[in-house]
């Protein structure tokens, strides 16, 4: 690939080709960017993905339907709950199974908690990429608490494997609800503190303002999803516009980029949309926990042990922390899927980098990558 590019670069010595990655502290995993630069200013950056490819979709054809669930954790290990949910919904559609209401609420609670955790990583690493180390550690500190809750809920901190085809694996543990509510009280105070510490810091704002602006049209035509799409001013959120699960029961805002630091769709908008989304997620979790029944109910639908859906194909869509996540599952009537395809937000986000990186500085590339919140395993799967 590099050779290919080298051929294209004029042989004048003003320019050089820089291999940004795969081992680079701010590529968020193993991604390579081939950067053509003229001094500090880039001509363009070409993402070279595939270093973390693990054939997860192919594995989906080899394991049975329930057995693929833990592998979905590995698609996006920063927010594995959504990958679980998307796959579960897909197979439930194939099986035409109705999920019990309590399970749907538990799904919403777990997913929104994980969304907070994932966004804390996103904004935290973003501040670290911009050079401030302390906010990242503060973000991780809060994330640790969420991890503790999730661990108490399902037994794992990262690869949750909590959702099941037809429901969820566990009901709420004892005392969990009050602990999470107490945490949310603290967390709602943490967010303004975080904003004062870094978001409104003048250096930070200036570093992100008007950098790598993605226009509304660009965002749509490149298929950006989730906070990246909303950062560009497109008001689209599956949870509200195509509600699934328990989401119609909750009241929440969908933050949309407004050009807080100068231009709609710049790095700061994408960043700040995530900050606001954390607040909304906290609201959703609070509503869900306050209204969910205190007594254990059915959390699993009747699903045969040997899952053998009728032949057919389905598409399921969930609003993941990294945007819309879709599963396309084809069944041929056997107990193994004929095809499992996952559509992830990070992959499409990578494609826009080449287009908007022209004229940016090397330091801006770092901001751009982290503002898109790409997670390498989600790109490559």
């Amino acid at each position: 690939m590099e050779k290919l590019i080298l051929r294209r670069v004029d042989r004048n010595y003003e320019e050089m080709v820089l291999n940004f990655g795969p081992q680079h502290p701010s590529t968020h995993g193993v991604i390579n960017f081939i950067v053509e630069t003229d001094g500090e200013v880039m001509k363009r950056a070409i993402p070279d993905v595939g270093y973390l490819h693990r054939s997860i979709e192919k594995i989906g054809e080899a394991t049975g339907y329930p057995g693929f669930m833990p592998f979905t954790d590995r698609i996006d290990y920063v927010a594995a709950m959504f990958a679980n949910e998307g796959y579960a919904i897909a197979v439930e559609k194939l099986l035409k199974v109705e999920v019990p209401p309590r399970a749907q609420w538990l799904r919403a609670i777990s997913c929104e908690l994980v969304r907070i955790a994932s966004h804390l990583i996103a904004v935290g690493t973003m501040t670290m990429d911009i050079g401030a180390f302390t906010p990242m550690v503060h973000g991780l500190r809060e994330r640790e608490e969420i991890n503790d809750f999730i661990e108490a809920l399902c037994g794992a901190r990262l690869t949750y494997n909590y959702h099941r085809i037809g429901g969820v694996a566990f009901d709420l543990p004892e005392g969990w609800r009050d602990k999470v509510l107490a945490f949310l009280d603290r967390f709602d105070k943490f967010l303004p503190e975080f904003d004062r510490l870094i978001t409104f810091n003048e250096i930070y704002k200036k570093r992100l303002a008007k950098v790598a602006v993605v226009s509304r049209e660009q965002a749509i035509s490149y298929g950006l999803v989730g906070p990246n799409l909303r950062g560009s001013g497109v008001d689209w959120d599956l949870r509200r516009d195509m509600p699934y699960g328990a989401y119609p029961n909750f009241e929440f805002e969908v933050p949309v980029g407004k050009g807080w630091a100068g231009a709609v769709g710049d790095c700061f908008d994408r960043y700040y949309v995530r900050c606001l989304e954390m607040k909304e997620s906290s609201r959703i979790v609070r509503q869900a926990l306050e209204t969910i029944g205190q007594t254990p109910e059915e959390i699993m639908a009747k699903v045969p042990r040997n899952v053998k859906p009728d032949a057919g194909e389905v598409l399921s869509r969930v609003e993941s922390a990294r945007g819309e996540m879709a599963y396309y599952v084809v069944s041929d009537g056997t107990n193994k899927a004929y095809r499992v395809r996952a559509r992830t937000g990070s992959f499409t986000a990578m494609s826009i980098i080449e287009d908007i990186s022209g004229g940016l500085m090397v330091a801006d590339l770092v901001a751009l990558i982290s503002s898109l919140d790409v997670v390498a395993p989600e790109i490559d799967r």
Binding site: G67, H138, E151, A156
Partner: protein
């Protein structure tokens, strides 16, 4: 870019103000308590006891209540559980589990094997400290051909199944040998005088107790082995009777009691 005077001074003002707030926050954290958990040696109690009860650590099998139904083996998406069932030679009506290996190095701690277990015999524990110099030591052998266990007969009316305290069996296994011990040798050592083993495992197995390579099928419960699905292979049956050659392996197997 043109800049008005108010923009110029405003930029300075905003900068100073935002810096002031940012610095007050870092200063305030200087006065708060850190949250670090100083694993492993400065915790109020062992970390495994601080973990929630649902924690998915190493798998433990209580062989006393294992029904040998192999549901866990089928549920495992990565085939890290290996179970072999045979008829007890002394009592043909009783089936025994001659092999119950869990490769914890391969296990991804998803918990899918725990769910179908009818008696709760296989469970995740809160044990997670299992670093081993030799990765083969992470294959936990809950049963082997020398000391098979009989399958548990489920009492339909039982309210619960008497299970050993969770983690106690696993801890005993973990503490049975030091972390840096050499791993078990799954393949038998070559006999000193034997010629190069000809690649005829079937023939060798058929040769039974006669050849030095005889114990190959039974001493090789390699995790990779094809799932036997409980159908006792003829070779395994041959290996079940205590052949003197079976005692030959030079390296003692720490997991074997």
């Amino acid at each position: 870019m043109a800049q008005s005077v108010s923009e110029y001074t405003g930029a300075i003002k905003d900068t100073v103000k935002s810096f002031w707030h940012g610095m007050s926050i870092t200063l305030s954290h200087l006065l708060r308590r850190p949250i670090t958990v100083q694993y492993p040696d400065r915790t109020p109690m062992p970390v495994r006891d601080m973990l929630p009860p649902r924690y998915r650590g190493f798998l433990e099998v209580d062989t006393a209540i294992c029904t040998g139904c192999q549901a866990c083996e089928r549920a495992c998406p990565i085939n890290c559980i290996q179970i072999t069932l045979e008829k007890d030679p002394a009592n043909p009506k009783q089936r025994v589990v001659t092999q119950f290996d869990i490769d914890e190095a391969k296990c991804m701690f998803c918990g899918l094997c725990v769910e179908p277990c009818p008696t709760g015999s296989i469970q995740h524990t809160r044990e997670f400290e299992g670093s081993q110099r030799n990765i083969r030591n992470l294959t936990f052998r809950w049963s082997d051909a020398l000391s098979p266990f009989p399958v548990y007969k489920v009492d339909k009316n039982a309210e619960y199944y008497p299970r050993a305290p969770l983690g106690s069996l696993l801890r005993a296994k973990l503490e049975a040998h030091p972390w840096n011990e050499a791993g078990p040798v799954f393949l038998p050592p070559e006999a000193p005088g034997a010629a190069k083993p000809v690649a005829q495992p079937k023939a060798a197995a058929a040769a039974g107790a006669a050849g030095a390579a005889a114990p190959a099928p039974r001493a090789a419960p390699a995790p990779k082995a094809v799932p036997t699905n409980g159908v006792p292979a003829p070779a395994a049956a041959a290996a079940a009777d205590p052949v003197p050659a079976a005692e030959k392996p030079v390296t003692p197997n720490p997991e074997t009691k």
